[in-house]
Amino acid sequence: MNGKSCVRCGNKAQLKRPKTGELICKECFFVVFETEVHETITSSNLFSRGERVAIAASGGKDSTVLAHIMKVLNDRHDYGLELFLLSIDEGITGYRDDSLESVKRNKEEYQLPLEIVSYEQLYGWTMDAIVAQIGMKNNCTFCGVFRRQALDRGCELLKVDKMVTGHNADDVAETVLMNVLRGDIARLQRCVAIVTHDESGGYIPRAKPFKYTYEKEIVMYAYFKKLDYFSTECIYSPNAYRGFARELIKDLERVRPQCIVDIIRSAETFQFDTVNIRKQVISRCEKCAYISSQKICRACVFLEGLNSGKAKLSVFESEGKTQKSKARRVEEEEKVERSKVSILNADW
């Protein structure tokens, strides 16, 4: 049925590489996939020997492949890293409880210590309880703010030097596009950085070893290696805004697969007018001491609202405005919709 051969070894080809268009067999694919991630890690100096590194593990495809490959490369190339799995339990029945089972299987398979930090233990609220109170409108905003902080708290518990996330090239290209579409120049500049951290050292640096790795190859790798991952969309996620950008990228990829890496390269090469980019001033939250650009961090503002039953209002308060005409409020709601997306990607 197929007479095409692998460009590297001449055996039967099984995969067309989106980045290069090369035809390649399964065994050579494993080699180039692993080698390219290794090259990304070494050329960007992502780690130093002796570091403790947390792998943000959701049980989904990207983080499952990331955990596998970090383990393989750390052993093969003797990076000298101490690896940990870090998962967040948002308290979403039928979604996170199932995906955490897949993380627990990864823990056994790769023999890595696992830390699970739950919203319930940190904040006293599960997402199920939050949605029961506030409905499905701003729930992703809450979840995004809470998750970001929970990951940092988990890193503190594990005393790690860095965290790696499974964000892949498709995710980065989507984010570049979204930041262009909403004119968010500050985030546009940050989102292509392979390591993000704030200058004051307020939170643990986050790195993306899959920055140049195509989603197609991650899924193919998981399929051919028979890796055990969980794939169900969050039951509370409306997934609208990012969904559009995602679909656009996937449509473009079908016509010209190189576009994904080209979008990233473009953003890396942009010259920014740094004078006019608003720099965030980072300080500490007066309530919980978490890093924040406001006196009280967003998580604490949300929690106060939840605990006093005024959660819906607190979403608006956190934007710094409370008294609004109806028209203004509609506009503000749209802004919150947009910030949902940006909060979910606050580390970009």
Binding site: S58, Y223, S231, D251, E253
Partner: protein, 94 residues
């Protein structure tokens, strides 16, 4: 002729959680025909998450006997008896 079909990456949820099916199709059936057949006979919900036009939605990978359909003729590939056709969604979070 009999053809084996597999769903993963979340697509199985659209097919009543079926991860494997064996279907009986005519000779000269292409992948495009097979997609239409699956929609007609097995898809339970949200066809827009499986299909786009007369093919699968971009972001769904297709393999025939563990070979990327991009190496074959894509949607025009004619399935053969006992072929194993795998549909994998890449669209779910990771």
């Amino acid at each position: 002729m009999k053809v084996k079909v597999e769903f993963s990456g979340g697509l199985e949820l659209l097919f009543d959680k079926a991860t494997r099916l064996t279907v009986d199709v005519d000779e000269k059936t292409t992948i495009k025909d097979l997609i239409a057949y699956l929609k007609q006979n097995h898809l339970k919900e949200k066809p827009e998450l499986f299909m786009s036009g007369d093919s699968v939605r971009p972001g769904i990978l297709v393999l025939v006997n563990d070979v990327d359909w991009e190496l074959l003729d894509g949607a025009d590939y004619k399935v053969e008896p006992n072929d194993n056709v795998v549909f994998i969604s890449t669209l779910h979070g990771g």
